[in-house]
């Protein structure tokens, strides 16, 4: 099956087998290893990427369904002027990274949510920030610093 989609700002065309999962397309075919395989069953959020503005679990998403769409992975947040996105800067400032395996997923979820908040002109409460991260498990940090970092993004 031929798939044409935009990945981190660039259109690509790729032949894939129909049952390929998006995470495998990203990690194995495109060799973008920043997206992490935590559980491969939609429970931990480590593999979160952004498809047309929405954070999704790439382990539960068929690759063929990004056809014509725009996919952003953690690698897509980097540009020449700013090697790190504001969400990433805040995470480092607040000590939100320990082992870091959940971090790319945390970043992508927060990025999608913050984009949405900015677009709607909303400043979320701490409880709303916590809820926005409910699909991303972390075993190192106890979430507190990640929540602090995400909150700082909205200030």
């Amino acid at each position: 099956m031929i798939l044409t989609f935009k990945i981190n700002g660039e259109w690509v065309t790729q032949e894939i087998k129909p049952s390929l999962l998006l995470i495998d397309l990203i990690r194995d075919v495109l060799q973008l290893k920043g997206t992490k395989p935590g559980c491969l069953e939609g429970e931990c959020g480590a593999c979160s990427v952004i498809v047309n503005g929405d954070a999704i679990n790439s382990c539960m998403y068929l690759a063929i369904n990004v056809d014509g769409k725009e996919v952003t992975t953690i690698e897509g947040l980097e540009n020449n002027e700013n090697p790190l996105h504001q969400v990433q800067e805040k995470m480092l400032e607040h000590g939100a990274v320990q082992c870091g395996f959940c971090s790319p997923g945390m970043v992508m979820t927060t990025k999608a949510y913050s984009d949405k908040c900015i677009a709607e002109g909303i400043t979320p409460t701490r409880e709303e920030v916590k809820k926005s991260l409910e699909g991303n498990l972390c075993r190192c940090t106890g979430y507190a610093k990640i929540i602090d970092a995400a909150e700082a993004v909205y200030k």
């Binding site: 099956m1 087998k17 129909p18 049952s19 999962l21 069953e41 939609g42 429970e43 959020g45 979160s48 929405d54 954070a55 999704i56 679990n57 382990c59 539960m60 998403y61 068929l62 063929i64 369904n65 056809d67 979820t109 999608a112 949510y113 809820k131 926005s132 409910e134 699909g135 991303n136």
Partner: protein, 288 residues
């Protein structure tokens, strides 16, 4: 996983795909949040997946209203339901159920139709829709259409009335006839997020100006093979004033809800716990 995929863009393409594959092993999927895990656990060689994710037909996707109904396309995601102001305002039970489902990442792809057709006794949106007396609009690949009340559409554990030729196009919910509503979704689990309900209670009450209950829809999840609409509990409430329900009436209501429960014991909770909690939360819905 090694299945084949057909991705229809239009309704005729979709119906043709179903028609053409009648003799084959096919599954229909939209958000895949349950289906992919099922596929991983089984042999998928030779399986055909009819993928609804690329369907552009608005009838399957939009949320609209007319004089009597709200219509929700089967492919509406949980996130789209949450973001819809009319749903939040008119049917808090549905809004809350969608919002308590898994995580943002799952809600962004999980669809109403998928939640229904997965036929889980703990389906969050399904429980809310049953409390709202929702109706499924079903089409088949021969061009027929039919309507069926959701509570009868679900026939048993993992069973619906759908034939191999059919699928759900959309769901309708009768509009509220009153602005005075008490509506919510109680989901009991061991943590606040990422739960599959151990017990859930979906309730939607409509009252007249004086507070007299004129409509009661209460359904309970994860306590029986299917999600029951608790008719006798609802009848008990109808005609009573919401502001004036005595403790013994609350008990009676809870007992009637409980009479629909026939739970199993599993690793998450015993049948005893499920009944106990269902009874307890049923009593509390009047207090908030």
């Amino acid at each position: 996983m090694n299945f084949d995929v057909i991705s229809p863009k239009t309704t005729p393409e979709l119906l043709n795909a179903i028609y053409d594959n009648q003799s084959k092993n096919f599954r229909i999927g939209a958000g895949f949040t349950d289906l992919i895990n099922q596929f991983k656990a089984q042999e998928t060689e030779g399986l055909i997946l009819i993928n609804l994710a690329q369907l552009t037909e608005v009838d399957f996707k939009k949320i609209s209203e007319n004089e009597i109904n709200f219509q929700i396309g089967a492919l509406t995601t949980a996130s789209e339901l949450i973001d819809n102001k009319s749903i939040k305002e008119n049917f808090p039970v549905l809004y809350q159920a969608a919002n308590k489902l898994a995580s943002t990442q799952i809600r962004n792809v999980a669809t109403v139709g998928g939640n229904i057709c997965n036929v889980s006794p703990s389906g969050d949106m399904t429980a809310a829709l049953i409390a709202l007396k929702a109706t499924c609009h079903i089409i088949d690949c021969d061009g027929n259409e039919r309507k069926e009340l959701l509570s009868s559409f679900i026939r048993g554990l993992k069973k619906t009335s759908l034939t191999k030729k059919e699928l759900i196009k959309n769901i309708t919910i009768p509009k509220n006839f009153s602005k005075n509503i008490k509506s919510g979704y109680e989901k009991v689990g061991s943590r606040k997020s990422m739960e599959i309900a151990i017990v859930s209670l979906a309730y939607h009450l409509q009252m007249d100006d004086k507070g007299v209950i004129t409509y009661a829809g209460v359904a309970c999840g994860a306590v029986a093979p299917t999600i029951p609409f608790t008719t006798s509990a609802c009848e008990f409430l109808t005609g009573k004033n919401i502001n004036d329900i005595s403790d013994s009436e609350k008990e009676e209501f809870a007992k009637r809800v409980l009479s629909y429960a026939n739970p199993i014991s599993d690793i998450r909770a015993s049948d005893w716990y499920r009944k106990e909690v269902l009874f307890n939360i049923s009593k509390t819905i009047f207090e908030r």
